[in-house]
């Protein structure tokens, strides 16, 4: 299996591409790296500089202090985080069983599901938004009139990222055989999920969570369309009034995305490192 598609499974940059790059030599590599680095870093640095700029080019942190003093800053941030966490939760709840089921029972439909998961990229998000709204119209107000509906929108809109992340994790293990081995050993689905699927799909689950969360923290159009003042919506509103505050805000937004990502990554990689002593056993006996 693996040998059939070495290009996909081998590490990026190995084999095929590297020979060309090597021929061009090290200087070329450094030039590329530097250019890419500049492309990312220059805007961030100059934004940062701008956000600390007071009258007459003096240094000030007033943009930040003002922001932190705004009630809306905290409330919108909290709303976005809440929606993000909810979306991640719903996404995993929906997608893990789906992806597993498709691989084990409906392998022929894999391509169909994959294509379907890409639809939100193709269909304009306004259309998706209206579609989701229409589908959930009948539901009680706790869903329909609250940020829950926003999470439902984001579950759909982030599908291209979340589905791919999980799907590729599933493809990297022989899921069908592992499931069947587990079943023949007497395991039901719950225990399979807990002992076999979740631990072996951890990478994909983390990836899907990170991508989904980041998506939620950055999405503007749909939130604005549905009149929820999320963090990005707040950012745009501020931007129309105070430029340096808006820039400070977007830097903070970056931080707020990165910090949870870093935490998730660190927590999970530590758990992984501890694995050499049987973790699950401790959890389970009592």
């Amino acid at each position: 299996m693996v040998t059939i598609a070495p290009d996909i499974t081998s590490k990026p940059g190995s084999a095929n591409n590297s020979s060309d790059v090597l021929r061009l030599g090290r200087p070329f590599r450094y030039i590329v790296l530097t250019l890419v680095g500049l492309f990312f870093i220059v805007p961030i640095v100059s934004s940062a500089r701008f956000s600390f700029l007071g009258n007459h080019n003096s240094f000030t942190i007033s943009a930040y202090t003002q922001l932190f003093g705004t009630a809306q800053f905290w409330s919108t941030l909290f709303l976005s985080a809440k929606v993000g966490v909810g979306t991640v939760f719903l996404t995993l709840l929906l997608l893990i069983p789906t992806v597993v089921w498709v691989h084990v029972r409906l392998p022929k439909l894999r391509r169909v599901f994959e294509a379907a998961s890409l639809l939100p990229l193709v269909v304009p998000s306004v259309v998706v938004t209206l579609g989701v709204i229409t589908s959930f119209r009948g539901l009680p107000n706790i869903i329909y009139g609250t940020p829950v509906i926003l999470s439902l929108e984001y579950v759909v809109l982030a599908l291209p990222f979340s589905y791919r992340a999980l799907d590729s994790a599933v493809q990297s293990i022989d899921l069908k055989t592992l499931v069947e081995a587990g079943q023949s050993l007497g395991s039901g689905w719950i225990k399979l999920l807990r002992y076999v699927l979740l631990p072996n799909l951890r990478g994909g689950i983390i990836g899907a969570s990170i991508l989904t969360f980041a998506f939620c923290l950055g999405e503007f159009a749909v939130a604005s369309l549905l009149s929820f003042t999320t963090f990005p919506v707040f950012l745009v509103q501020v931007g129309q009034l105070a430029a340096s505050q808006a820039v400070a805000l977007s830097l903070l937004a970056l931080l707020f995305t990165w910090i949870p990502l870093a935490v998730i990554t660190i927590v999970f990689s530590q758990r992984r490192a501890k694995r050499s002593t049987p973790v699950l056993d401790d959890l389970e006996i009592s």
Binding site: L178, S184, L185, E284
Partner: protein
């Protein structure tokens, strides 16, 4: 060997259960993977399923293990009809062709998995996994992860994992096919030893005839989703029920012949050969005769000679590839003790030194 089963206080001291496939059919779209497939395994017996690729061996095992539901027919283990029982409830130990250990668990955790999902106490689980890791000789590797084990070791652990649950039936689908020849034959013998020790009814799929002949109590030769013959290795080899079995197990020569009387047939180039055929052909009928390479002997000289195209030394036998005067290829196997007969000869003549395998109507 057998005594160990009893000294273990009956832990292994259970002779296996009979297993019955009764008229199983399983279709995948337009492919009939199994059609009215019948097979009865006696308690404690090791049955090897042998047959060409796509004949339904894996499907048969999966139906037995509950991983595939038959369209019709019944599967019985002991006295229980398990046809509609899900895999998790069947208590069948399964070893897969591909490496199937849980990558996130050590060898020991893998072995204990089936006990863990049954909610057994850690101390019982450890005792049992120690016992099994000992049985497969991997006690020192207990804390390694699958990726730290060789292919052969992984399949041993898979075997231990399957046995840990004290399965009623053991099912192995080409468990050795990913291993190199040396490991394959030693692990094969080990599987047989353990199987005999436990007395567990076992189904073993292989493509490798030698493997099949070596470990089977009985071989089930399958063809196009059906059982062609179920018999001891010796009987399958020396007394194939059908032409397909004769061709599939071992090598055969097909030669035209003419029936002389109810138990002799005159075969081209080789001469008269004995045969046993129930509905004997009338004398003079043109027939096709299937003869094993070792049922033909060679001698120097003679009129009806064959040219020696190739000689290959196989240890206890020498395989000769011959071309007769009508340009038919004939394969002959002679004992190495007769090597002198063909040491310098370019041509040899043939005679029969055993019975014909099968005689069938009409020469081609």
């Amino acid at each position: 060997m057998k005594t160990k089963t009893n000294t273990q206080g009956g832990r292994y001291g259970r002779s296996g259960l009979p297993v019955e496939f009764d008229g199983i059919a399983r279709n995948f779209k337009d492919v009939a993977a199994l059609k009215s497939f019948n097979l009865h395994a006696d308690p404690g017996e090791l049955i090897v399923l042998l047959g060409p690729s796509g004949c339904g061996k894996t499907t048969a095992l999966r139906v037995l293990a509950g991983l595939e539901m038959p369209d019709s027919g019944r599967v019985t283990i002991g006295n229980h009809d398990v046809t509609s029982l899900p895999a998790a409830k069947r208590n069948i130990g399964m070893v897969f062709q591909s490496y199937s250990l849980f990558p996130n668990m050590t060898a020991r955790e893998n072995v204990e998995f089936g006990l863990r999902v049954r909610g057994q106490k850690q101390s019982d689980r450890t005792a049992r996994s120690n016992e099994l890791l000992e049985l497969i000789g991997l006690k020192d590797q207990a804390d390694r992860y699958p990726h730290q084990l060789s292919g052969g070791q992984q399949q041993r652990v898979a075997l231990a994992r399957a046995l840990a649950i004290k399965p009623e039936v053991l099912v192995l689908d080409e468990p050795l096919s990913a291993l190199d020849a040396k490991v394959r034959s030693s692990l094969r013998d080990e599987i047989r030893r353990i199987q005999l020790e436990l007395g567990i009814t076992t189904f073993f799929v292989t493509h490798d005839q030698e493997e099949a002949l070596a470990i089977a109590d009985r071989i089930a030769v399958m063809h196009q989703g059906q059982l062609e013959q179920l018999d001891t290795p010796l009987a399958v080899y020396t007394n194939p029920a059908t032409e397909f079995v004769a061709e599939f197990v071992g090598t055969v020569n097909r030669l035209p012949g003419k029936v002389i009387n109810s138990n002799t047939v005159e075969v081209a180039t080789v001469g008269p050969i004995n045969y046993a055929y129930d509905g004997a052909f009338p004398s003079g009928s043109q027939v096709e005769v299937l003869v094993r390479p070792e049922s033909i002997g060679v001698r120097d000289g003679g009129d009806d000679t064959c040219r020696v195209l190739a000689k290959s030394f196989l240890g206890s036998t020498i395989k000769l590839t011959l071309l007769d005067k009508s340009d038919r290829l004939i394969i002959v196997a002679i004992p190495t003790s007769e090597a002198a007969l063909v040491a310098n000869s370019e041509t040899v003549s043939l005679y029969s030194r055993g019975d014909a395998l099968l005689v069938k109507d009409g020469a081609r």
